[in-house]
Symmetry: C2
Subunit: 204 residues, 2 copies
């Protein structure tokens, strides 16, 4: 569009590179910013430019952190004998906002996806195995909380295999439950979900 | 969420203030930025911080501009006797990307909305009337291109009234056509759209 000032077009192009934002949304965001207060835009830009320099990844669990360890790994009130293995930080956020899990985490940084050329070496799974080994039996339970899809299942299965190779006694390996989500309608559920909800039925 | 580094939370809060972006989308965007290259993030921040200082509004039509006049007002190949009055810059972008309009624009900066306390004085309509008056008959056609809703119609009607007060001979005032959009299904069209498509029928 020949009518856009260079800087506006450049900012739109930046927004468009973000996931889920198309050219129309990007234009709307930039126009909103143009009508926002100067202080908001300047503060936004400053926070953005600080992001990479001020935020690191926890050296133990690969959660976002400000120091070597993230706030969860530093928190001594958490149950240190439980590790929940999640695909990415957003999944960790989801469990944290639930508020009922008080153990530690391990962020894999993705899932095994051969088609996209992502193997176990591209994830932090090696560091996870080392972490469990180094704990010398200090880990009582590993909760595999990858997404219930093809890649998630393959990754969970791979990690289970690696953990079993350590042949640690007393290490419980669990997988988050599959079944019908709250508020679901049996009518509309797919066959696999129904099967899982039957296989995973509990005493009532 | 107690697990988020301050800077990450602050950036999420900034994104959430943008229209159409909720906390989940904001987290996803920030996580994407954390995994993007340093140069992209730094360049993004720089463009954002330059936005307000480098972008202005055209003193004639209130389009975005880098100088006193926007690129459309400066372009001498455009038809200077036509002004299309639009609500905001996004509407101008929409007509520009269509590519078939070669006249000038006037961006109102909103519509008359008494419930939100927006009156004609909050818009650039006064400047539009002055612009038409100062042109001393140089404007042949005013195309009122506000949205076809209550506020848009009220604004169009107000501007028409003000233009008529100038009693300029040879000034044609038009309103963009209403009817069925391309690809629409008569079955699903609302009554007002059907009525407008009938009232506005053209020789075939």
């Amino acid at each position: 569009m020949h009518s856009l000032p260079k800087n506006v077009q450049k900012l739109i192009d930046h927004f468009v590179r973000l996931p889920g934002i198309g050219p129309k949304t990007a234009s709307r965001l930039v126009l909103y910013l143009l009508h926002s207060s100067d202080s908001f835009v300047v503060d936004f830009a400053q926070t953005l430019s600080d992001l990479k320099s001020k935020v690191r990844f926890c050296t133990r669990c690969f959660n976002l952190a400000e120091d070597d360890l993230c706030s969860i790994c530093k928190d001594e009130s958490r149950e240190g004998d439980k590790i929940m293995v999640v695909e990415d930080v957003l999944d960790l956020f989801a469990f944290e906002s639930m508020g009922d899990y008080h153990g530690l985490y391990h962020v894999l940084g993705g899932v095994i996806a051969p088609i996209q050329g992502i193997g176990p070496d591209d994830l932090t799974s090696g560091m996870l195995i080392k972490r469990v080994k180094d704990s010398k039996g200090g880990i009582g339970e590993m909760i595999l909380a990858m997404n219930p899809n093809l890649e998630g299942e393959a990754t969970a299965s791979y990690i289970k295999g690696e953990l079993l190779k350590l042949s640690l006694e007393g290490l419980r390996i669990s997988r988050i439950a599959r079944g019908l989500p709250t508020g679901a309608d049996l009518d509309y559920a797919d066959k696999v979900t129904l099967l899982k909800s039957l296989q995973g039925r509990v005493e009532y």
